[in-house]
């Protein structure tokens, strides 16, 4: 009796679920076909040698071992780390400072918010074309930057055509024009700080500077974790050099070869599918570990503080 009642209610639940299932069906198919299946395949490929046409041989963990032996990977790893170490703090500080500036309640400040964001709207490929011109190197018709350098009595810089760290430095300089994007997120965080707190501080006689250090800075802190993690992931997977650097983004002397670029070249230009899959898994594992550590540090700091 009880059992049949339960069965009855389950039947009812299932019947009530049908519209929900119908609405979720397309998404489920999409997820399985374009996310789940590729993930499983990607794991499979990473243990095989595969060139899309003929070879599909099981090689065990050889692809993973080769990653550690590949000098180009070492170079890419060093470049990516160097880029991350410079880019992440630089971006965090600059976006935050710009957000503080744009948070000042001035007439017309909204116009400046839009203006500063505009470089972010330029598509990467157009950015590549125009930065190549701005940073052009050569005796004949040097770019604007090198014109300035020469006028200042400096020698011309090769920027991202250079074979050493100068190339990464050029990317960092380019990135500065894109800080409007991160700034928007900080501004949103500032907006979420209740106005009453500032009012109370004003009544207590706190000046603008005190308000900044005692209210705005500490209360936008939680946003730091989000910004840090998204920035970190974007930096590790950075492959923007494909748009402007020579050799499909690898640069002269592999000076701008980052992990994302290395995977792109090996997968789609050299068709080393298995090896590229193994590298993308390594990159994912590294990203996951760093993200996890960041969450841990964040929790540890919040518990102590």
């Amino acid at each position: 009796m009880m059992l049949s009642e339960r069965r009855q209610s389950l039947k009812k639940k299932i019947r009530k679920s049908i519209p929900g299932w119908l609405f979720i069906l397309p998404m489920t198919v999409g997820l399985c076909l374009f996310t789940l299946y590729p993930i499983v395949q990607s794991i499979m490929y990473s243990f095989h040698e595969y060139d899309l046409i003929s070879v599909y041989t099981f090689v065990g963990v050889r692809n993973y071992i080769n990653i550690f032996r590949d000098p180009a990977v070492h170079k890419a790893l060093v470049n990516t780390l160097l880029f991350a170490v410079c880019n992440i703090p630089l971006m965090l500080v600059l976006t935050y400072l710009l957000a503080l500036l744009l948070n000042i309640p001035l007439k017309g400040i909204k116009v400046f918010r839009v203006l500063y964001y505009l470089p972010c709207v330029i598509p990467a490929i157009a950015g590549g074309v125009l930065w190549s011109a701005i940073m052009k190197y050569g005796q004949e018709a040097p770019g604007i930057f090198n014109q300035i350098r020469v006028a200042l009595g400096l020698s011309q810089s090769k920027y991202f055509l250079s074979g050493d760290f100068e190339a990464i430095r050029a990317i960092l300089v380019m990135n500065i024009w894109g800080i409007g994007g991160g700034t928007v997120i900080w501004l949103a965080a500032f907006k979420n700080i209740p106005e009453q707190i500032y009012e109370a501080a004003r009544i207590d006689g706190a000046g603008k500077i005190t308000q900044l250090f005692r209210i705005t800075l500490p209360l936008s802190g939680p946003m730091l974790l989000y910004n840090l993690i998204t920035l970190m992931i974007a930096t590790i997977q950075f492959n923007g050099t494909i748009a402007f650097a020579p050799y499909t983004g690898a640069g002269n002397n592999n000076a701008t070869l980052m992990l994302g670029v290395k995977i792109y070249i090996d997968a789609f230009n050299r068709l080393k599918i298995g090896y590229a899959a193994a590298m993308s898994w390594m990159m994912m594992i590294v990203t996951a570990i760093i993200t996890f550590l960041m969450f841990r540090v964040n929790r540890w700091m919040n518990n102590d503080g």
Partner: protein, 291 residues
């Protein structure tokens, strides 16, 4: 005490005017710096061929040559890619907005077995980097004979608008008053009817956010098309055509056309951003704070 306070106030306001003046000067100077690459691009795209190729790189054109735009899209070969990108981005952006709202509706307004599991599963895919699935997707499309077509660029969005978009749409739908749906149910409307006559009309904000951001993202993306479209004879998107033209004879002979094309490529998202700024900033804010 009162006198002291008013004096203090007075002093402050005097200082504020000077301070604000300095701030404005600084803000304008900074705006010049920020807009410099953009202006550079526009100016170079309007130059004559001789001015562009002069032994000194100029910033300003000596005379404005608007015909560069005509040439870039005719002889320059960017005409067809421009048309392709327009319809492709428009189609994909609308499809993605719909395919984000459909699951969002299921997650917010309907009760069904497995809802929480499905939601967690979907959100887990946010953390997955695109590169991990790109290699097998490339193999899959090549086996389906879809390489060198536009299919790989929009087919995934047909079914699933991406975890972040579904999540944002869900957050948005949660803000709808429940009473409306209840009264619709009392009036005999089923879930499909409610979706069409309540959810869709009330979702203008999120619809526009998703559609516009997808449009802008896809419009400027040369990377994804460069994976799937490699043959010279294959149809191209605008951004891809630009990317591939960098090594072409045309670009060497008429680099100013490339800059005209770059300007058109950049002006489109700029206009979209200016018009839909309110929705976009709202969306970025929600994504940031909830994420």
């Amino acid at each position: 005490m009162t006198v002291e306070m008013t004096m203090h106030k007075h002093k402050l306001s005097g200082r504020t005017i000077v301070g604000n003046g300095c701030l404005y000067v600084f803000l304008v100077a900074l705006a010049v710096v920020f807009l410099f690459p953009y202006a550079f691009m526009v100016c170079r795209g309007l130059m004559t061929n001789t001015r562009f190729a002069a032994p000194v790189m100029h910033f300003f054109p000596d005379r404005i040559k608007l015909s560069n735009y005509v040439h870039a899209f005719n002889e320059g070969g960017f005409g067809m890619p421009l048309v392709n990108s327009l319809w492709l981005c428009l189609l994909t952006s609308v499809l993605t907005a719909v395919s984000s709202l459909v699951p969002a509706y299921a997650f917010t307004r309907l009760k069904w077995i497995g809802k929480n599991v499905m939601f967690a599963f979907m959100m887990a895919t946010v953390m997955l980097p695109g590169i991990a699935t790109q290699v097998p997707l490339y193999v899959m499309y090549s086996q389906f004979g879809m390489l060198n077509t536009f299919f790989p660029l929009f087919v995934p969005n047909l079914l699933f608008g991406g975890a972040m978009n579904v999540f944002l749409a869900r957050q948005f739908l949660l803000s709808h008053p429940n009473e409306m749906y209840e009264s619709a149910t009392i009036d005999g409307a089923g879930p499909f009817r409610s979706f069409l006559s309540i959810t869709i009309p009330l979702s203008k904000t999120i619809f526009l956010y998703i559609a516009v951001s997808v449009f802008m993202g896809m419009w400027g993306d040369y990377y994804t098309p460069s994976i799937y479209i490699t043959l010279d004879s294959a149809p191209k998107t605008f951004a891809l055509a630009l990317y591939q033209s960098l090594w072409s004879q045309n670009n060497i002979a008429h680099p100013e056309w490339t800059f005209s094309a770059c300007t058109v490529l950049s002006v489109t998202p700029t206009v979209l951003y200016a018009v839909f700024q309110k929705y976009l900033v709202q969306g970025i804010a929600t994504a940031g704070i909830k994420g």
